[in-house]
Symmetry: C2
């Protein structure tokens, strides 16, 4: 049965993002697949978003483009206005699916009978999430991995599902033969440990190619540590790359390194690489274990030494099997999972309204 769905995206980045932006990319993949399945989806997002759904442009363009001293406050005004618009007409929707910072949607979710599904895209071990939990439990919560929930496993939260992020697998060309370099894709930040990628490349004697954004908070880290390190080690730095360039970078590699060294809730880079046939060598942090099947789509390592060893054997993995593993993170599976969550949330809302 088709559902009327309000999809509330973050407003800093368009849906889909032009380049960097994990959350907005997933919102886009989910929205388009739901539309394809016949659901009536209204996407609330910045006006420079592109979608087959009904787009309600909350603001003219993505707010990261509005460089201004008051940018943080503007984001708050626009996010509140978006939710106010959505909840004012909550009766038009069967379900409201929010991807904003949690306190915004949670504050409104309690004011209507229309169920709210809230996907938590950020780490949950920081205070703001706990504050919101204490004050504002209400929505059907969805984590993007089971690992993401670890810091709050002692809390009794209304978890409806854990839904791994998804990609359009068919948009990634399959590269049947392993390449002769290592790839690193993401963001230049101390969390993501591009320095470990350089170390692995140096020790294994393989070239390293990097496609990564440098956000303003990380400019100093880039300038003082990573840029000199890249230069000293002949790293090929491609800057922030688009989806097509990313697919080529992944597909042509022997392996993708994922030395991310923080409790990353998901890590969309991993299935993206797998979709091109290129296995992933990841540190055992965050959701890596849930995404990479060791010995099939890559290796899960306890430290940089294990990553170096893994590079020696990664060429033996079957790249076709690796791509097949990426189907666990397809748009279809993403939409299947959320359809289940939506129906469960609707059923629960009806039964609590009847109670």
């Amino acid at each position: 049965m088709p559902l009327k769905i309000a999809m509330a995206a973050p407003l800093s980045t368009p849906v889909p993002p032009e380049r960097y932006g994990g959350t907005e990319r997933v919102v886009s993949v989910l929205t388009e697949e739901l539309v394809r399945r016949g659901h009536d989806v209204t996407l609330f997002a910045s006006g420079d978003s592109r979608t087959a759904a009904r787009l309600v442009p909350v603001c003219e363009k993505a707010l990261w483009k509005v460089a201004d001293e008051g940018a943080e406050r503007l984001l708050r005004v626009e996010t509140l206005a978006m939710l106010s618009d959505i909840y004012r007409r909550a009766g038009d929707f069967d379900v409201i699916h929010a991807h904003t910072e949690e306190e915004f949607a949670l504050a409104f979710a309690r004011l209507t009978h229309t169920p709210t599904v809230l996907t938590l895209h950020d780490r949950l071990d920081l205070k703001p999430f706990l504050w919101s939990c204490e004050r504002l439990q209400a929505a059907a919560l969805v984590s993007v991995s089971m690992a993401q929930r670890l810091p709050v496993r002692h809390l009794d939260l209304p978890w409806f599902a854990s839904v791994h992020n998804g990609i359009r697998v068919e948009k990634y060309p399959f590269f049947p033969e392993p390449g002769e370099y290592l790839a690193f894709v993401g963001r230049i930040s101390p969390d993501k440990r591009p320095d470990l990628a350089v170390q692995v490349a140096r020790e294994t004697g393989l070239p390293l190619k990097v496609g990564a954004a440098v956000h303003s908070v990380d400019l100093e880290y880039w300038r003082d540590e990573i840029n000199p390190l890249f230069r000293a080690n002949d790293v090929e730095f491609l800057g922030e790359i688009n989806d097509e360039e990313k697919a080529v970078l992944f597909g042509g590699a022997l392996a993708t390194l994922f030395p991310s060294d923080w409790p990353e809730p998901f890590g969309i880079v991993m299935p993206e690489s797998m979709a091109t046939g290129t296995p992933v060598i990841a540190l055992d942090r965050g959701a890596a274990r849930e995404v990479v099947e060791p010995g099939v789509s890559g290796f899960i390592c306890q430290g940089v030494e294990e990553m170096i060893q893994a590079v020696g054997v990664v060429g033996q993995l079957d790249r076709a099997l690796c791509r097949k593993q990426a189907l666990r993170f397809s748009a279809e599976r993403l939409a299947d999972s959320y359809e289940n969550v939506y129906h469960a949330a609707v059923v629960e809302a009806r039964s609590s309204a009847a109670a």
Copy 2:
């Protein structure tokens, strides 16, 4: 007819504030007077607030006391939680009166038939207010002076009234004789121009006594400019003082200097001084003209030269008349005005619900 009123205070400071805090002081004066008149007032505020109304403690203590990197985010979470609690039970109230930053209350106001009255305590010539106006017009707006509205006079906004701030005049002892020093009370900040107060005192040969808070954003200004200036000119600096100390400081003075040099929306210092019988010598900025009656309760000056001249004649003013002028800013007049606003908002809400 008694009204059921939800009063939503800012959460950074208790109601009333222990020391500095103009908005929270006015919220307190209004709340207590409404309770005294038999209204059923529920005050949503930090748990360390004191009131004869029904207190709903939103957070345990005022958030300025929670020194933490995430303090700004915590304020957002708690403010959203407060408004969510209020609007979830909007049907329990005849009117919701909010004193928070505007976008919060405006976003919720549109979701219910219970009217929201929003008092704007801050300046309106900055972008955030305009953003909120564009996106979220809904509540009955109240300015604290007509001067405050000047920067947005070209906009068609739902102004219900301009209500000057109020004080409990009877809590200020009357000092019938003029003193022999000048007083400056408020905040040490470049906007408030304590340096001009020093200049006036120096040129007139009178001692200057200062009771003022130094907020963290102004620490550098205090250290590098004002503290050395005070020391070089023998200014008596009392720091942040409480209400009793403030009344004595005002009452014992020849005049209170109010050289505030920004579009200050109101300036509670002026009626506080007048209540003790001490006239105010103010720069012609913000709401000064609306508060001080020239030649009766003080002087309105175009610059520091006029302030110096005014000191020469201010002793001739009738201090009893000056105190009488303070009654224009009494708790009774404050509550009268807001009762009118509440009734008008209720009537309008009923007629739009019927339409």
